[in-house]
Assembly symmetry: C2
Homo-oligomer: 286 residues x 2
């Protein structure tokens, strides 16, 4: 077998590589370079501009943690906005809640969605079959800017890193609009980078600084995502009044009897306990 | 600059690589191959038989979590046995407790200790300066077998993977002896591998199966260790009567005012909350 290697630089001198069995697809979309690969251990995976986005083996951690944490804090969520998330995994998890009646998904790059439907039905299949899901192939920044006040109960920012098309999704203006379009008990969850390698840590601090100036409640929670740099990844939980721990409703969530592989009610609380060095970085902005 | 690359196979087709600036030392000891390297992002690091053991950047997570979890459950720990841990990081953390009066460290490979003292003073320096630390360059399995009953308050198994010299430290006989040499409120902490990649998961399940048959209390806790396979690593907490959550004494621990970078009292409790797929694997032995 020839050696076909995908490599991502986690730091300039720390590399993560996957020996793939086939390079399924390569294209330059109007927004980014998209590659789909097949591998034995991680299954199908795809990269945007060379960075790992989703693979079949560990996507459940990310999609569980972005979705079920807010859904178990506010059991009355009806309208959900997903920004990004072209692979469909976040929409798939949200679609498991029967009381949700609208899932708007705004993905700037239609090609990511189309290719995920073709090559990654594990994450994307619900995009074609759940009638509550509405796809908008637009810029998320512009979408939230034109949306009316107090419309969504939950906004999930399932973005790439803050370089390339994802950059605006880490801007002050974008967070301002998220705040404005959320209901009074609305929740914003954002992809919050990682505390470990310098580049990711810098973005983690920048994002938190902006969000905590805006939202009365702004917490950060962690999980294990083995194929993202360092395997230590974060989401932000921001809201006008709901606290992710005090307002957590494990009993109501457990009544739904959802089968999850990463998330559970103990993990929910535990995820908000951060290592001391992460706490300090977020508190001191450095 | 020439490309000098250290690579570890996390799975047969998933590789973690570090571009090092210099290969400080290489030797074949009677037990294993030892290599020390220098790198920009991770600082000095060393490998045994090609596997990452310790590096300057993330060693604090591992050494915090192996040490402070048991020390904050039983504040009366006087005699501690460390099996393995040749880098000295675990002994360094235990030596921060003034009420501990004996730290026996049994490392089969004297060369690991000597080289760590030379190249990794960050972890090894206490081995030469703390008079409570007694070094035994012996096989840990034989050491615990000849030790009298009820001698230690805490046994920390800071071992390599269960291949090569670390193999016996995952055996039933070894765990039997650990049980026997512990006091009634003694605690055993063991390096418990990882739930993610198949090879590590298999060893995690095997170790837990043996320990839970022996100890009335046998829990597993997790932490982020970015340079170990998947970054998702575990320790086991086993004891005859102390529960790591019910008997946790955060107030007494905080009075000691130890400055830690990973561990804190919230992380202590949180670490025992495991993802659903890990819980199931440990419960069902598969």
């Amino acid at each position: 077998m020839s050696h076909k290697i995908y490599t991502e630089k986690w730091a300039k001198d720390v590399h993560f590589s996957i020996e793939y069995t086939s390079h399924i697809h390569h294209e330059e979309s109007p927004f980014q370079t998209i590659d789909f690969y097949q591998s034995e251990t991680l299954g199908t995976f795809f990269t945007l501009d060379g960075l790992m986005m989703v693979n079949q083996k560990d996507e459940f951690s990310y999609h569980d943690m972005i979705s079920h944490v807010p859904m178990s804090v506010n059991p009355n969520i009806k309208r959900v906005l997903i920004i990004g998330g072209g692979d469909g995994g976040t929409a798939r998890e949200i679609s498991r809640y029967p009381h949700v009646n609208q899932i708007d998904m705004v993905e700037i790059d239609e090609r990511v969605v189309k290719l995920s439907i073709e090559y990654l039905p594990q994450t994307a299949s619900k995009l074609e079959t759940d009638e509550r899901i509405h796809l908008y192939f637009e810029d998320g920044v512009a979408f939230v800017n034109q949306k009316e006040d107090g419309y969504y109960d939950l906004v999930l920012v399932d973005s790439t890193d803050p370089i390339g098309p994802g950059e605006g999704l880490f801007s002050k203006q974008f967070y301002d609009d998220c705040f404005r379009i959320l209901t009074d008990d609305g929740i914003l969850i954002n992809q919050h980078e990682s505390p470990y390698f310098d580049r990711d840590k810098k973005e983690m601090i920048r994002a938190h600084k902006k969000i905590k100036e805006l939202f009365p409640i702004a917490k950060v929670y962690q999980f294990h995502q083995p194929t993202y740099p360092s395997g230590h990844w974060l989401f932000g939980f921001a809201s006008k009044k709901l606290d992710p721990i005090k307002d957590h409703k494990p009993d109501l969530w457990e009544e739904l009897d959802l089968d999850t592989r990463y998330y559970n009610s103990d993990i929910h609380k535990a995820a908000f306990a951060l290592p001391t060095y992460v706490r300090k970085a977020l508190k001191n902005n450095e």
